[in-house]
Symmetry: C2
Subunit: 441 residues, 2 copies
């Protein structure tokens, strides 16, 4: 059942605009030969300004919140603020939040997060008829588009900084997190022009919010393998991230016989292989060592210290924690045998977030409305990748729509999404919003 009054051509134009804007945002990068846009960087400020401009084109009022998230809001017809202008606080209608993030990993693709923000803007455009100064369909809630400032955690190791601020789960311990240059999160806030003392102002109250909906590429090969353009997300993986430090003794590479070496790099190498061996033996656990730095890092010195990262994900928190306990026992054995010390600093922990059944249902309906009629229901996928919804789950109900990601390549320059799939996604998400609006409240 389609509720959306939009010509197919309108949707196709919207999808092409999303793709063109992905290209435009890809050019805002700290590197000239790839895409790198980290939290509180000059590139972050530039994409926020671009997003704000695009939001204002749609008649939204905009602000950058206290956590550096870029927000646009449009109130329903008849609301006091009339949809344009007015302050950020004190809105009378609760808002349906649509969004994703604009930050990237290093050497990133151009769609992860970004396509979700841009699709959200197209939903606003479709549901509103600017010429008439009101809504094509009367919505009982305001619409907000949020471009989150930090989902990846690339710069400070801690992910979901933007959405955690909005969810009201900010932890003051994070202020002392430092980036690779030693700049703390606190200093970076100040340099960006944000006041750390006002971080609480980014937090929303549950009664101000209807729900959070996000479209995102799958970042995995399942939809591509199943030849399906879209999926309903059932839950978002439980994740923990650690910084592991392995300590041995730096010594001359020539003069030191093997029997007296305490080589931190060899211990860390065994650790990385143990992560693979232990996790691959499990059903729904993925562990990855993505960072690995050896010190002092000279060709002729036995490494005395290695710092490595561990990213551990699972469908269920308990399973994930059981695997972590098994890993620590394995690391104790490896390091003990090699005369090394090791320790772990947990830099991120997020419980699995289950998407709200009602939202799964409206997204399923939305997907059905855009695809040709058929017998089987749309795929339902558990997301091993983390998303802003993990943080938003502490504030409100979360729903997610996945777009097919060719070959599952993500966090890589070859990351892709088809324009036709984006068009299906836009229609599915717009239909989902309308179905949600038609639910008795």
């Amino acid at each position: 059942m389609s509720l959306l009054q939009a010509a197919p051509d309108q949707i196709a134009v919207a999808a092409r605009r999303v793709m063109a804007r992905c290209d435009e945002l890809a050019r805002v990068s700290a590197t000239t030969d790839g895409i790198e846009r980290v939290h509180l960087s000059p590139e972050h400020a530039r994409v926020n300004r671009l997003a704000a401009e695009w939001m204002r084109e749609l008649g939204m009022r905009t602000w950058q919140d206290a956590a550096g998230n870029q927000v646009g809001r449009i109130d329903p017809v008849g609301a006091g603020a009339g949809g344009v202008g007015g302050g950020a606080g004190g809105a009378e209608h609760p808002a349906l939040l649509l969004g994703s993030h604009l930050d990237t990993v290093r050497d990133a693709g151009r769609f992860d997060g970004i396509v979700g923000v841009l699709m959200a803007l197209e939903i606003v455009r479709l549901l509103r008829v600017p010429a008439a100064g009101g809504w094509a369909v009367p919505l009982p809630f305001a619409l907000e588009v949020i471009a989150f400032s930090d989902e990846e955690g690339t710069r400070f190791g801690k992910a979901l900084l933007g959405s955690s601020a909005v969810a009201g789960t900010w932890d003051d311990a994070w202020w002392d997190l430092a980036d690779a240059d030693g700049t703390t999160l606190r200093q970076a806030f100040l340099e960006f022009g944000l006041d750390p003392g006002r971080i609480g102002e980014a937090a929303r109250r549950p009664d101000e919010v209807v729900a959070y909906l996000e479209a995102h590429i799958e970042q995995g090969p399942e939809l591509d393998r199943a030849d399906e353009p879209l999926a309903v997300v059932s839950s978002i993986a439980s994740a923990r991230r650690f910084r592991l430090v392995v300590e041995g003794e730096a010594r001359h590479a020539g003069g030191t016989p093997y029997d007296v070496r305490r080589d931190a790099l060899l211990g860390a190498s065994e650790a990385a292989l143990a992560v693979e061996r232990i996790c691959a033996a499990e059903h729904h656990i993925i562990g990855t060592v993505g960072q690995f730095e050896a010190f002092p890092g000279a060709v002729n010195v036995i490494p005395g210290e290695v710092q490595l990262s561990l990213d551990l994900r699972g469908e269920f928190d308990g399973e994930r924690d059981r695997v972590w306990r098994g890993l620590t026992a394995e690391l104790d054995e490896i390091m003990g045998r090699r005369g090394l010390r090791w320790r772990a600093h947990e830099v991120h922990a997020a419980a699995a977030v289950f998407c709200a059944p009602l939202l799964q249902d409206v997204i399923r309906t939305g997907i059905a409305a855009t695809l040709p009629p058929r017998a089987e229901a749309p795929p339902v996928i558990f997301s091993r990748a983390g998303h802003d919804g993990m943080a938003l789950g502490a504030l409100t109900d979360v729903g997610m729509l996945f777009l097919r990601n060719p070959d599952g390549i993500s966090h890589h320059p070859d990351e892709a999404v088809a324009t036709g799939d984006v068009a299906h996604g836009i229609r599915a998400l717009a239909e989902s919003v309308l179905h949600l609006a038609s639910e008795p409240r």
Copy 2:
């Protein structure tokens, strides 16, 4: 048989001056919490100025050569240049070269290389009586002290840059070597104020040189275990250094199942462990992975590329090359099994250098002259660590004296040498020079 006319007190003062100057040079560092002094850095320029000052105090004429080595020369009594003043070239007497290097690894100790340069200065002081304007003992050759500019290869990956220039074995391919910031060796020469076009001027002719003698800490535990202060070096290890590149595919750490991963970090970890396993099974082979960098290096991205170093040493070239061939077969297997590509760039190769029998003999005599009388001959050691003598071997005969290195700790802030051992070393080296001078030529 002692030829040296020096009071024990003079030697003790000399050893204490060496130790104090090691402390003084340790303060010339790019880092505030350790010692780091790499090739063509501002710190390199500062220690060259200090060394030149100390050389001039001894009446030596000094110059920084075309490769950034700091040289001091004193001609024998009756030579045309009178020992002081005059140009760098055209000396009438061939010179005995004494020296070592002033560059360091990262987070280095304060004695590796440095103690040999400072001991050489004390040899000049002991053999000359400045007040009398001549030599305490008439020498048939000039004495030169060379503080080599790059032995470690810390900055450009290629070791022995300073001594290779002196030996006349400079390779123009090295100009394009780049440091971690992308600065090429050529650019670094220019920034340091050196003219790459004049590098040939640093080269010596064999007929200008008598021999090369160097004192150095052992950088291994053998003398400490044997409770011996000094040793004669029989040969310097054969060494090859490689930069290994492992290529896989960067992908999202959450969404990518193990069966489609091509994780460069796991392949590189297996490679590092294979180096240990294969080399430890050999008698005189040491292999070390000291550098290991993962790209893109994000906590939530599967590494698509790893660059690692391999330092491979052996007593004999053939043995070393056989092990390298075995390693390449092992790496082919590992990378093939994991769907990875790999390649190796050889950044350094040095054949084993055998110390000249005559020089081994005069050093043995020198050691005997400083130690209490006893039955057994001084220890003779094969050096697994590389030294400037490896390059100088292409120019002239090489002799080396090792000093005890407590616990064999080197390339580490805890690197140590005892003042008493330095005193023994100074006397042994001075006696060696005198014995060499008394040899029929």
